[in-house]
Point group: C2
Chain length 373, copies 2
Amino acid sequence: MAFSFKVIKKDSTTQARLGRLVTAHGAVETPAFMPVGTQGSVKAVSPRELEETGCQMILANTYHLYLRPGVEVIRELGGLHRFMGWKRPILTDSGGFQLFSLGSLKKITEEGAHFQSHLDGSSHFFTPERVVEIQEELGADIAMVLDECIPYPESPGYVKASTERTLRWAERSLKARRRDDQGLFGIVQGGVDPELRRRSAGETAALPFDGFAVGGLGIGEEEKAFHAIGEFSAGLLPEDRPRYLMGVGRPEDLVFGVSCGYDLFDCVVPTRNARNGTLFTSRGKVSIKRSEFARDPRPLDEACDCYGCRNFSRAYLRHLYVAGEILAAQLNTLHNLHFYHRLMERLRDAIREEKSGVRLLEAEFGSGISNHN
Amino acid sequence: MAFSFKVIKKDSTTQARLGRLVTAHGAVETPAFMPVGTQGSVKAVSPRELEETGCQMILANTYHLYLRPGVEVIRELGGLHRFMGWKRPILTDSGGFQLFSLGSLKKITEEGAHFQSHLDGSSHFFTPERVVEIQEELGADIAMVLDECIPYPESPGYVKASTERTLRWAERSLKARRRDDQGLFGIVQGGVDPELRRRSAGETAALPFDGFAVGGLGIGEEEKAFHAIGEFSAGLLPEDRPRYLMGVGRPEDLVFGVSCGYDLFDCVVPTRNARNGTLFTSRGKVSIKRSEFARDPRPLDEACDCYGCRNFSRAYLRHLYVAGEILAAQLNTLHNLHFYHRLMERLRDAIREEKSGVRLLEAEFGSGISNHN
């Protein structure tokens, strides 16, 4: 079994933990953020540039890769790592969130999820077993069970039925497992109902998963509910296994999540925002297209040492963005990922150094966590 | 005067020459190809990647930079090199070819060219003097005189009148010159009329320019006329100054041009083709989207050692292109520029080694040059 996880140190003033995840493709220091490589590429950056940003692990989307180029192609070419030229760990999602995004193009039954491809309308069927099989064929280091990401808002009856079905799917997923060099994570659902969340967490945690994810958050519920459920759910999960807060988030959400005791995160925010010209800096979020930058000779962020900040002015970055140059997407993505990975590094250092550093980062990012103890 | 040019060696079987161009931003071994950085960025590659492809010098477009971000902005930010983070030499064109492309949005008089911006329709006026001044403000290492690129076909009367006007503009350009750390090149026009070409070359070459360009070729005339005029014009230019075949071209055109005795080339072909999925390889031109590549594990070109060919399969490159990933444009551009610069290196080596190497390259690329001696 190539997969292992160890908590190295717990923070003294929050629930944050410093950990080490070991996979068949190397180790990951946690807490860690995974950029999203939807179609087998983190948009606008090459693998060597990703490594340069400090990226330890990426997420790839099973739904997208299954449809194009197809699982068989990737398997034939030696698996996803070799296919995309990324040598470090990969987590693949289960497609649950993509099915959620398909809306009326999918239909969920006890057996699995019927859906139509967003590419060509062709019909497909994902079962918990098939989804484990696909991820084993892709060769992910961490695979996720098929779950239903419950829309918000939804009727209490449906939330309950769906949460229970996701639990049954979790058991089926474990039985379908064939590879022992891959971690398999269960997913906690339950909407914004604390009682259902408690049941989902308890019953999922009773199963022999290698780690646990909390899903269905950050999809339209109020910030308060997101914080309450996010914090509450982390506390229900086993201490000795990695905890993954799925699809989250903004820098302040990462500080919040680490504070709650989560170890892994993924989100399109840094990469998508980069392509839209929204950049994260030590002075906050910046829209690079603003005319105030037109003649600004300073680097985007004087506190940043990414390739862009070392070599180009705000004026040039603004020009590239306004002129629609591809290089804008490249430099902006490099910068935002550098910012995210640097933030995770600061969080890890804060836990390691035991000087209320996580609390200081909460204050810096306005994460609004009052008390975790 | 920072600008100098020296012919180091002449080929024994063609008119090709090996040379060394020295500018305020370093030396360029010629023959050399200049990728096009229209808006202050060679599309889809960063300066460090450009250097990695073996790029010695780039071309930037005066027309585009004048309109956006504006010459004053670039001057304020320390000139074009610093603005775009490119430390090696830059040649700026005069805008003549962009005006040609504007069609009915421009009007040419004896004084200069009135035109409307393709961005916002605003009215502008370029004179030979203003165009020299703009390029001096941009801080190019080589500036080009304002010329009229004559449409093809055009009436003999217009071709003659335009060619004569470009000659008068050349004299005005020289008088407008203020910087002595920048080379200024004259441009030979004359359409496809050998007599006018001879007159244009003779009268331009009589002026104290640092180098000479041949323009108005590759714009719709027949291949035969292109070859005839291209070869003929090179022979009319002084041996001791650099010769630049503007806007050319495909790999076979570069071999042809070198064979004729040209030293500098620029073209959007490698970069634009890359973005359209057309790649140059040692086996010829390849359209990466073809389904035959869907499961092909081999590198695009086994003879190539660019980042893409060292790390990715044809199957992956095809997937990126079909999926519309930005990384497709990045890797494809890196590859095509690598191919172009490697071709120029082979041509330089061929001249240096004196083993009929240029003739062998003509045969390999089917350049169809029968005899230059």
